[in-house]
């Protein structure tokens, strides 16, 4: 049984880490981009960003004043048990979000869409989002918080099989150029692409591809992995860099996730994470251990499964 107090305490720490500490995989990717960038304005911007990450860590202040819209991805091992059950879990995550908004502090971004009313704590109707996933074995719970920034850099389009790869490329470029102008997408960023599913799942896949996979990670399907690399190169050949200045750094990495879709359709979504790719992860075990990391490791074989059944491990094989 995982104590609920431990979940809330861990969640508060994660909120703090996500807002302040740039994940190493993205930082290394940005350093590589800065090393090859030759546009003078773009280079200046990347250098300032690298200094900014240091300042944030030294001062323990948020990297960016727009601290995004905090949300939670929760993954549970099949044997995980949480004190108080799922309602207690959601309460703990909502409390942690509110407490950290005041504590770090974060910007209380969340308001009612029509009345613009504000609880000043990033909690409200449907906020923070809490999404779930499961894994076949284990008694742990993974808490993942993502504070995705940016009103820009995200789009969806209904394509069709006849649009093909060249249609996908066109929409990829359209999205990057449209949102890259004047740097509205806060590039260079990790780009997530969702292909297939239904409209909602296509958006979910693309967003998760951007936010829940680390720089350098490749899709297990080698043909999709090749596309990911091709799209990164394509994005960086636009001639645009940070803030929409002349340059060559638009994309730190591209991640593509697919879902089975209607036979007549080929839905596509594009999501740009930002210069403050805020994500933090912890695995909380039943025995009270907590392991922090920055790789959500969300897209396991189980999450991408194609089959009807999934063989659960036999009782003898279950780890104590």
């Amino acid at each position: 049984m995982i104590p609920i107090s431990l979940i809330q305490k861990t969640a508060e720490t994660l909120m703090d880490k996500a807002a302040i500490e740039i994940p190493t995989d993205y930082l290394d990717g940005l350093k590589r981009a800065a090393a090859v960038e030759d546009g003078d304005l773009s280079s200046f911007v990347l250098k300032a960003m690298l200094e900014n990450y240091e300042a944030a860590k030294q001062d323990r202040r948020a990297m960016c004043g727009d601290t995004g819209t905090p949300r939670w991805y929760v993954k549970m091992g099949n044997e995980a048990q949480i004190q108080g059950g799922p309602v207690a879990l959601e309460t703990a995550l909502r409390r942690a979000t509110a407490n950290a908004t005041n504590g770090v502090p974060l910007r209380p971004n969340r308001v009612h869409p029509l009345w613009r009313t504000d609880h000043n704590n990033n909690v409200g109707i449907g906020a923070p989002e809490i999404e779930y996933g499961y894994e076949p074995d284990g008694d742990w719970i993974d808490l993942i918080t993502v504070h995705k920034g940016g009103l820009f850099g995200t789009d969806y389009r209904m394509l069709f099989p006849s649009d093909g790869i060249q249609g996908i490329k066109r929409f990829f470029l359209d999205s990057l150029v449209a949102f890259g102008k004047r740097g509205l997408a806060c590039q260079p960023a990790i780009i997530g692409i969702g292909l297939g599913g239904c409209k909602d799942t296509c958006m979910v896949l693309g967003k998760r591809a951007a936010c829940l996979r680390v720089v350098g990670d490749r899709n297990v399907d080698p043909r999709i992995a090749a596309l990911e690399q091709e799209f990164t190169e394509l994005g960086n050949s636009i001639g645009m860099g940070a803030m929409g200045f002349v340059g060559k750094s638009m994309v730190i990495d591209t991640h593509i996730e697919v879902g089975y879709c209607h036979t007549g359709a080929m839905q596509m979504s594009v999501h740009a994470f930002c210069l403050s790719s805020r994500r933090a992860v912890a695995r909380v075990f039943a025995d009270g251990r907590v392991e922090y990391r920055t790789d959500p490791n969300w897209f396991t074989d189980y999450q991408r499964r194609e089959t009807v059944d999934w063989d659960l491990p036999q009782p003898a094989e279950v780890q104590p």
Partner: protein, 219 residues
């Protein structure tokens, strides 16, 4: 690249000396104002709770990551600009009312905006860098002098008055002739775009927005 330190109540000469792409650091008082403040001051005709522009001629399009402590003091973490083009509707009247000479934000405005109401008001646009250098900018805030209208508008839309000490970096994105740094860059980039797009295929199904003619077939 040239680096300049500028007052938040700058002289016309100091502004005329700036060139597109110059890096600027700011000293003095700066206030945040975005749609909430504009609507309250311009549409509801509320009295602006500061002496403008004598106290500050620098309008920051920003909501800080900040809190008001129970004892009334302030905690300011990171400060980052928000996209300015959304405020074009209010800015002509705001520049006239406030006498702002520096508009600081994200993404700049169109050169037509600069020529129509920035230049006549003697104002220029400074862009934040990145746009995520919130921690660096936060270090440049020496003190939060006041926060106005937070009860009416909420923390994110309130008018925060910040005392800046070498706050930056910012980039000069418009000049006294109304030239636009971003449009200059876009023009250079656009020249090569046809090569990048070569071989790609326009979508089979068009969308409204790509055409404004509602009688047009989209397939």
């Amino acid at each position: 690249m040239r680096e300049v330190t500028l007052s938040t109540t700058p002289t016309p000469e100091a502004l005329a000396d700036l060139a597109l792409g110059d890096i600027v650091y700011l000293d003095g008082l700066m206030y945040t104002a975005r749609e909430g403040v504009y609507m309250r001051a311009l549409e509801e005709k509320a009295n602006v709770p500061m002496e403008l522009p004598s106290q500050s001629a620098a309008n920051f399009h920003c909501s800080p990551a900040a809190r008001i402590n129970p004892d009334g003091s302030f905690e300011m973490g990171a400060v980052t600009a928000t996209a300015s083009f959304r405020f074009a509707k209010w800015l002509p009247d705001w520049l006239a009312l406030s006498g702002a000479k520096l508009v600081i934000g994200k993404g700049g405005m169109r050169s037509t905006d600069y020529k129509e109401y920035f230049v006549p008001n003697g104002a220029i646009y400074l862009s934040t860098v990145g746009y995520g250098t919130g921690a660096l900018l936060g270090r440049g805030v020496e003190n939060v002098e006041a926060v106005h209208w937070h009860e009416e508008l909420g923390l994110a839309q309130a008018m925060w008055v910040l005392k800046c000490k070498r706050m930056g970096p910012f980039i000069v994105a418009s000049d006294m002739q109304g030239n636009c740094l971003f449009e200059r860059e876009n023009e250079r980039i656009s020249k090569n775009l046809h090569r990048v797009y070569e071989g790609t295929r326009p979508a089979t199904l068009k969308r409204f927005g790509e055409t404004d003619d509602k009688s047009e077939e989209l397939i």
